[in-house]
């Protein structure tokens, strides 16, 4: 096989547990974003726009939808004769099969895949960030510095620095210190989880790390510190621009709302740097007489009879008459009935919300189901495929799944609560 200068390995196996019900049935990179995309579209589009035509996607957690979505990679122009996109789940070997135990282990288990392209460099990416970046420039930087490893960094607000892997660099961008989630950060240069390695060098470290007992087999915790300790040439590539980790409900909501700003903080209109995705075959969306749409994003296939303000609506969404959607995200094919109010909420795919509901009303609700104790930061999240019966009220700070709805229905049968509902209606 012809050799490639640089191939990409995209880590897409994380569960994304902080997204709660949104990632119950699908991996985080497949979570819908921005009206018609899924999170992974940004990384895949960056690859193809940067001229990287070979991408290995490492999957593990609930990969079904992700696999179907990626398919042969045609939407991203990654259906290639030589290279293209390859989905790499863990597989059984002669002795034993094992799951990916960490980010580094995932690459370790696919050394053969990378070797088959004989690349000089490997780009390691993760599938849970929203950003536009030209990896070819980073590769140039890597070559220029004669680095063994280059890490893309972004300056984050000081108060948030403790959430990231923090780097200290000399004037020439050479890294001399790296700390994963430090309590007292002494720099605000955060690792973006984007690395370029000389493949031969990385391979050596991966093999070594694998043999070490007690290692987490993780890039941030093991590989990077080990390389630094041994004095490898490691450089920080400064990135300026929009970059958002959408790993939490709050940040996912914020990143969607960022698109509504004018001008948007992330320019999706650049014809030279299109974000590609799998497009639904739906007619243009329809806004009816008497409907109102303001500061919002609406996609093909949707039908709007009500009011939509400051929200992001995906394809195939319907909003009934006299309903109001405000400060919310409504994912593909969700149906909202009449005279329903949805505020400050994330409505999952294929959700059906009946008439006269109020989702995200002021009063703070509480979800007592322990396994759903995910930080929702005052938002209301309705899990995929749920049917919310007419007249339901769900407060803020709630992550709703089927059990939660059942518990609501039980409560509603008590007479006093029933009286209160009558009053509201």
């Amino acid at each position: 096989m012809r050799s490639k200068e640089c191939i990409a390995m995209l880590l897409a196996g994380g569960q994304g547990s902080r997204l709660g019900v949104l990632t119950r049935n699908l991996a985080k990179p497949a979570v819908p974003f921005g009206g018609k995309y899924r999170i992974i579209d940004f990384t895949l589009s960056n690859c193809t726009n940067s001229g990287i035509d070979t991408v290995g996607v490492l999957t593990q957690y609930r990969p079904l939808k992700l696999n179907t979505y990626i398919g042969i990679g045609q939407p991203w122009d990654l259906d290639r004769m030589n290279g293209g996109v390859a989905i790499l789940p863990p597989y059984a070997k002669q002795q034993v099969g094992e799951w990916y135990s960490g980010t580094a282990n995932a690459i370790y288990q696919n050394i053969e895949f990378v070797n088959s392209y004989h690349p000089k460099y490997v780009l390691i990416l993760s599938g849970d960030h929203i950003y536009k970046m030209d990896y070819s420039r980073m590769l140039e930087f890597h070559k220029e510095k004669k680095a063994g490893c280059t890490i893309a960094v972004i300056e984050v607000p000081w108060k948030e620095a403790g959430r990231f892997g923090i780097l200290n660099t000399r004037e020439d961008s050479r890294i001399y210190d790296f700390r994963e989630k430090p309590k007292k950060p002494d720099s605000n240069k955060a690792s973006m989880g984007i690395y370029i390695f000389d493949w031969e060098l990385l391979k050596q470290y991966l093999i070594e790390d694998q043999e070490l007992e007690g290692s987490d087999n993780d890039f941030g915790k093991n590989i990077i510190p080990n390389m630094l300790k041994r004095g490898e040439a490691m450089y920080a590539y400064p990135f300026k621009g929009y970059w958002k980790d959408v790993g939490t409900i709050q940040s996912l909501w914020e990143a969607n709302m960022d698109l509504l700003e004018d001008p948007p903080r992330l320019d999706l209109y650049d014809k030279k740097w299109r974000i590609y995705g799998r497009n639904p075959a739906e007619p243009p969306h329809y806004v009816a007489l008497g409907a109102s749409v303001r500061r919002c994003i609406i996609t093909e296939g949707s039908v709007i009879y009500g009011t939509v303000i400051h929200s992001v609506l995906f394809s195939g969404v319907s909003v009934g008459k006299d309903s109001v959607i405000r400060d919310s995200i409504v994912m593909p094919n969700a149906r909202v009935g009449r005279n329903t109010v949805i505020e400050h909420a994330i409505v999952g795919e294929e959700v059906v919300i009946g008439d006269n509901c109020h989702i995200g009303y002021e009063e703070t609700g509480e979800n007592k189901l322990s396994y759903l104790k995910v930080d929702v930061s005052g938002l209301t999240v309705i899990g995929e495929g749920l049917e919310v019966p007419p007249g339901t009220r769900i407060g803020r700070n709630v992550m709703a799944d089927a059990d939660y709805l059942a518990s609501l229905a039980q409560k509603a049968q008590k007479p006093d609560h029933f009286a209160r509902r009558e009053e509201i209606l």
């Binding site: 921005g34 009206g35 018609k36 045609q74 939407p75 509504l260 004018d262 999706l268 209109y269 299109r274 974000i275 590609y276 995705g277 497009n279 075959a281 739906e282 007619p283 243009p284 969306h285 329809y286 806004v287 009816a288 007489l289 008497g290 409907a291 109102s292 749409v293 303001r294 500061r295 919002c296 994003i297 609406i298 996609t299 093909e300 039908v303 992001v312």
Partner: protein, 373 residues
């Protein structure tokens, strides 16, 4: 329907769409916000299970080829068969200019002969609908027909409208006993949809025979002349049909799409309508926009007022612009304080600040591609 191939004629010479067909063939005319007419024809064939489609082109087929590419979006990039775009060529027998549909079919005889299917569906490109050919083929076989013509009965259509079409008359069994091309006084309201089903062998024979006799008109010189010797049947189509035969009808039918029932019929009736993917950003609305009864495609940015409009992909409506009862095609920009009513704007038009453009409902203004007003 695996045993059926499709042939699409993309230039219906008697279709007059003025500015809209100046730079493109009839089949490439944009329709319904993100489609072109050909999308419906190809999707119908694909949804019927047809995997071998030949496209006869003549005029301005560049935009059509650009749109169709390898046929991938219609799932027609197949190893065996798939999509064949067949432009005219100069040879010893031919000037490269088709002398009627029969001549065009004759020029692609090698392709037709090479195809392995038993039946052929031939379709023109001025009728837009969502159907599959399964029922019509079943009807064709049951009646042991030689040729089946799909038609739609439109009792409410005006004589003026009817006289723009080929009209047929059928007996109780569905056999056609009269057929007239654009008659000035219509005797029937059964409009031929320019879609025909016949066996490939018969098509080969009829085309060879006609060409040998110097006859080039498919309808007049094959269908009408052979009505007594061949079993020609009419299959009634009862669904929603858009006939694009004039600027007025194009405008009227586009406006009809604002009715949810018509959209349902056209987009979700039998199958999905596929089109070229443009990867546009979702449509975005501003703080002070007013939107009512409109279809809006991806890539649009609406800051002004739109009412009863169809907006194609990438249209910009600036703040304080007002657009009513209009069709605005791809990447057209309407700047602030402009006022547009009853207009059709082709692609890449710019309407500058404060300009007013008002047509009549019965006679919309048509602004050609790339015009700046």
């Amino acid at each position: 329907m695996r045993d059926t191939m499709g042939i699409v004629t993309t230039d219906d010479e008697d279709v007059s769409l003025k500015e809209l067909t100046r730079a493109r063939s009839a089949a490439a005319v944009p329709f319904a916000g993100r489609y072109r007419i050909i999308d419906f024809i190809l999707s119908n064939m694909v949804n019927s299970g047809i995997q071998n489609v030949g496209l006869l082109t003549q005029n301005n087929y560049h935009s059509l080829m650009d749109h169709l590419d390898s046929g991938k979006q219609w799932d027609l990039d197949r190893k065996k068969d798939g999509l064949f775009i067949l432009p005219p060529y100069v040879s010893r027998e031919s000037t490269g200019w088709f002398n009627g549909k029969v001549d065009a079919l004759h020029s692609i005889m090698p392709y037709i002969r090479r195809s392995s299917q038993k039946y052929v569906v031939i379709s023109g490109s001025c009728m837009v609908c969502n159907l599959t050919y399964d029922d019509a083929l079943e009807f064709h076989k049951k009646n042991k027909a030689d040729i089946t013509v799909l038609y739609k009965e439109e009792k409410e259509a005006s004589p003026a409208e009817l006289s723009r079409h080929t009209l047929i008359q059928t007996d109780e069994d569905g056999r056609i006993w009269d057929m007239e091309v654009m008659p000035s006084s219509p005797k029937s309201s059964k409009i031929s949809m320019r879609m025909y089903i016949l066996e490939k062998n018969l098509l080969e024979y009829l085309v060879e025979e006609s060409v040998a006799r110097g006859q080039h008109d498919f309808i007049k010189e094959i269908l009408i002349r052979k009505m007594d010797t061949l079993r020609i049947f009419g299959f009634p189509y009862t669904g929603y049909l858009v006939k694009i035969d004039s600027i007025q009808s194009y405008f009227r039918h586009s406006m009809e799409l604002l009715d949810p029932e018509n959209r349902e019929e056209l987009f979700h009736h039998c199958g999905i309508i596929y089109t070229k993917i443009k990867d546009e950003v979702p449509a975005k609305y501003g703080d002070r926009c007013k939107v009512s009864n409109s279809l809006v495609a991806d890539g649009c940015i609406v800051e002004g007022e739109i009412e009863n409009c169809v907006l194609f992909r990438g249209v910009r409506i600036a703040q304080d612009a007002v657009v009513r009862n209009s069709i605005i095609m791809q990447n057209t920009e309407i700047q602030g304080n402009a006022f547009i009513e009853n207009a059709i704007m082709d692609k890449d038009v710019i309407i500058r600040r404060g300009k007013r453009l008002i047509g009549q409902e019965t006679y919309p203004v048509v602004v050609g591609k790339k015009a700046i007003i």
